[in-house]
């Protein structure tokens, strides 16, 4: 039986008036699909595809300036024109939601117990005592250790994975018929993601409820969905059973999404990008081998970095963020650094650039770069070294100064290091670099807010290249980007490496991406390097249990056998 039926749903946002005419931005342009009982339906798309807007319009959890039209039928009732009071009776009881960031979805001032009890008292009419017992059962069900004690805990006392378990427990408390999960694992580490996915699959089976699972990751939904809907620019591009979508995708966009994600099997020289696919271009040949005897540009020995943590009024404790890291980086090669959050991988990268203040904690070891130890250079000696080792950060929205034009951003480092004779020469260099990273020359006078995430990351790369560095530290440089954009940026990085002989330290939580770009891989856990080997070898035959666990946790898409 059909639980939820969405027919020709359109959602537009009013964007203020220009010359008396109301401006609208259409987010969803006529979407129709059904969710049957006891099914998991995945809604997949990149950012801006309208997938979340579609899901949130079911319970009208959209901002006030949204205008909806079409039909949303919940067991025959029209939700679109239902009064708010009736809708509130449905929310949480029949249709429950789990959101992306558990740390923001839980109220920090209430205990977990209080937040779990609220919907039970409200919707099920339970007494407080009965509700507390039910809440404990729910926590047991979502696999929370020591559930009774957790009821009295506040959200900040739980880890990210545990918080998401609480969110799921909250959603399940009233035994809803439909669970809307909006990117429930995107903010979590891969191993935790795997646990949460298994949990959702398990409760779905047990309660025979339906799940609308929203994700940007096609590989992820392939594992749990029965049906897949692919959205782009507010339109449903393709829908069908999961096996069909993965085995024989019909739409070019779906094909491209499947292909542009780096996989754990096989290693293409370049990733397919969406335009390639739509144009029907084929993938290129295998990568050309790298020179194994290229000169070593950076050698790190016994690198340790600690932070002081204040305890009480005067005492402080040393927290060892990075312990005893050793590696050699050759010209034109890439060192991948993989680990989950808190593993010290970013600290390691920033320490190489000395972007941590000395006062934050002790630093030891050696990082030999051009015959000098980077870690002990004085400020004046460090300035010329900065030219040669540069960094690209994770978040392209935060790493560019919003008040600088792209031109100013690119010219500034050259002016600081006196590269180029005058401003005109620097500007022409900057334009050449923009061209190199694939941006138009007219970007020069624009401001960062006019660019998309992928374009901003290209600008950040161009800025790092202005100083002609030998080593580039890429700190989660593609993690915040959509898969198709990620593929473009990864291709760009490979091209630049081939052309300029750059050496990369590529920091990422994503093993598949690291495998695509790296020659050697360091796996870090709690500040310690647990495994260090050739990229192919580490994926083919991981020796350490932790690496094996990381690999096993990566979503691999739909498998007929699975």
């Amino acid at each position: 039986m059909t639980l939820l039926s969405i027919q020709d749903l359109r959602v537009a946002f009013r964007m203020g008036k220009v010359d008396g005419v109301v401006q609208r931005a259409e987010a969803v342009k006529g979407v129709s699909f059904d969710i049957a009982e006891n099914r998991t339906v995945a809604l997949v798309g990149e950012s801006g595809s309208g997938k979340s807007v579609t899901a949130m319009s079911v319970l009208n959890l959209l901002p006030d300036n949204a205008e909806r039209s079409g039909k949303i039928l919940w067991q025959g009732q029209d939700l679109l024109h239902m009064p708010l009071s009736d809708l509130q009776r449905l929310r949480g009881k029949e249709i429950a939601c789990v959101f992306q960031d558990p740390m923001q979805s839980l109220n920090p001032v209430f205990t977990v117990g209080a937040q779990l009890v609220e919907p039970l008292v409200k919707h099920m009419g339970m007494t407080k005592r009965a509700a507390l017992e039910r809440a404990e059962q729910c926590l047991v069900e979502v696999g929370m250790p020591e559930p009774r004690r957790r009821l009295a805990a506040h959200p900040h006392e739980l880890s990210g994975g545990q918080q998401q378990r609480v969110m799921i427990a909250m959603a399940l408390a009233c035994e809803p018929k439909l669970l809307i999960a909006d990117e429930p694992t995107t903010a979590l580490d891969v191993t935790i993601q795997r646990q949460i996915l298994e949990l959702i699959a398990e409760v779905q089976r047990k309660h025979r409820m339906s799940v609308l699972f929203i994700s940007h990751d096609l590989g992820l939904v392939g594992e749990i969905a029965d049906e897949v809907l692919v959205m782009r620019h507010g339109i449903l591009r393709e829908q069908g059973p999961v096996a069909e979508i993965f085995a024989a995708p019909k739409d070019a966009y779906t094909k491209a999404l499947l292909a542009c994600r780096p996989s754990l099997e096989g290693n293409p020289a370049r990733l397919m990008v969406i335009d390639d696919h739509i144009a029907g271009r084929a993938a290129q040949a295998a990568p050309k081998p790298k020179d194994p005897d290229a000169p070593v540009v950076l050698e790190v020995k016994g690198l340790c970095k600690s932070f002081w943590i204040k305890e009480g009024l005067f005492r402080r404790r040393e927290f060892k963020a990075v312990q005893n890291v050793n590696f050699q980086l050759r010209r034109g090669h890439t060192l991948g650094v993989v680990g989950e959050s808190g593993s010290g991988k970013t600290t390691m990268g920033l320490t190489l650039l000395r972007l941590h203040e000395a006062a934050t904690g002790p630093l030891s070891g050696e990082a030999i770069f051009g015959g000098k130890n980077l870690l002990t250079l004085s400020d004046s000696e460090r300035q010329p070294m900065r030219r040669r080792i540069q960094v690209v950060f994770q978040n392209p929205y935060a790493s560019l100064n919003p008040r600088f034009t792209i031109g100013q951003t690119l010219v500034e480092p050259m002016a600081i290091h006196s590269i180029g004779a005058d401003t005109a020469e620097r500007e022409s260099r900057a334009r050449a670099l923009l061209d190199k990273v694939g941006l138009e020359a007219k970007s020069f006078g624009k401001y960062p807010h006019e660019f998309s995430g992928g374009q901003r990351q290209r600008i950040a790369i161009a800025r790092a290249l202005t100083l002609s560095p030998e080593v580039l530290v890429l700190d989660e440089a593609v993690s915040a980007l959509d898969v198709s954009v990620q593929a473009q940026v990864l291709n760009l990085l490979k091209d630049l490496q081939d052309e300029l002989g750059l050496a990369y330290v590529f920091i990422s939580h994503d093993l598949a991406v690291v495998r695509f770009i790296s020659d050697e891989v360091l796996v870090m856990k709690d500040g310690i390097v647990v495994e260090q080997a050739d990229a192919q070898q580490i994926l083919a035959a991981p020796r350490e249990a932790y690496t094996q666990r990381l690999l096993a946790a990566i979503p691999r898409g739909y498998r007929a056998a699975a």
């Binding site: 920033l350 100064n401 600081i416 022409s428 006078g445 401001y447 002609s468």
Partner: protein, 349 residues
Amino acid sequence: MSAVLPAAAAPAAERSEGVWHAAWRRFRADRVGSASLLVVLAFLLLIAASALGLVASHWQDEVGVPSAPPTFLGPAPPEAAGVIEGPKGPNVDISDIDPLAPRYQEWAERAAKLKTTQAAKRETLPFGGDRFGRDVLSKAIKGTQISVFVGVLAALVATAIGTLLGALSGFIGGKVGDALEWLYNVFESIPGILLIFAFAAVLGRGIGTVVIILGLTGWTGLYRQVRAEFIKHASREYVRAADAIGASSASRMFRHILPNVSHVVLVRMALLVVGFIKAEVILSYLGLGVPVDQVSWGTMLNEAQAELILGQWWQLAAATVFMAVFVTAFSLMADAARDALDPKLRGLE
């Protein structure tokens, strides 16, 4: 890398709409903000004219009778009743028997030499006169010049101090930050009015003193806000990226971070202007403000308290109307500016 240099001449870089332009566009779309901006501009024109001596340069002239009442209709006709009629017929010539008669001529000549001409004082003035008969309108215009000058200059001083110290404290932190926090706490822990009195007692009277007093005591709120913003921005990735390319601390503080927190500074400064105008009024009212030979809204209000007992309301009204209109317009303008500049409210682009 030098191989990537093309010889092609760079086309003239056209800058697209920056954050300031976008803010200006949003500001113009705000009707209340635009109207208040016009009012503020009108005041500024008036002040400029007054400073150049085009208007109200003779504000000290006693053009009317003391406490001339305000009216546009001119003086009421003199009352006719109770006037004794003068004698009729020609005067009798008694110069023959008058012993002083020969000297009248001489006295008349001497009197003519000493004679001063005094213009007839007007019985009423359109906006009334003060107790010396000075035109209240001219006083209010001159007072606007001084009050707004004091308010703006003091706000600039306070903003400069607050921004500089806040930036140092927020960006450098550590011992410098601690020291500045102590200074801030000292200034904050003394009640504001007492601090102002203390400064006023030491420095004496004068416009410069008022500016210094208000500037030295008014920076604390701005300091705290700027410090918080700098702490937040110092760990942002764009600042780290600037560090990675080798930008100096000063460049990161003032070239990178300051433009990004300028909306906080600007809006706070606008609020300070309003606050300082009111503070100057209070100071002058208490006799610690501008000297007696000058006029400000505060001195006008101070004089008005004695006049009110006599039912002479017009000086109070003039100062209050000027002040209310300017302060309200300036506050609304600052409000609109905050809305236009705050990046968090931006979402329509």
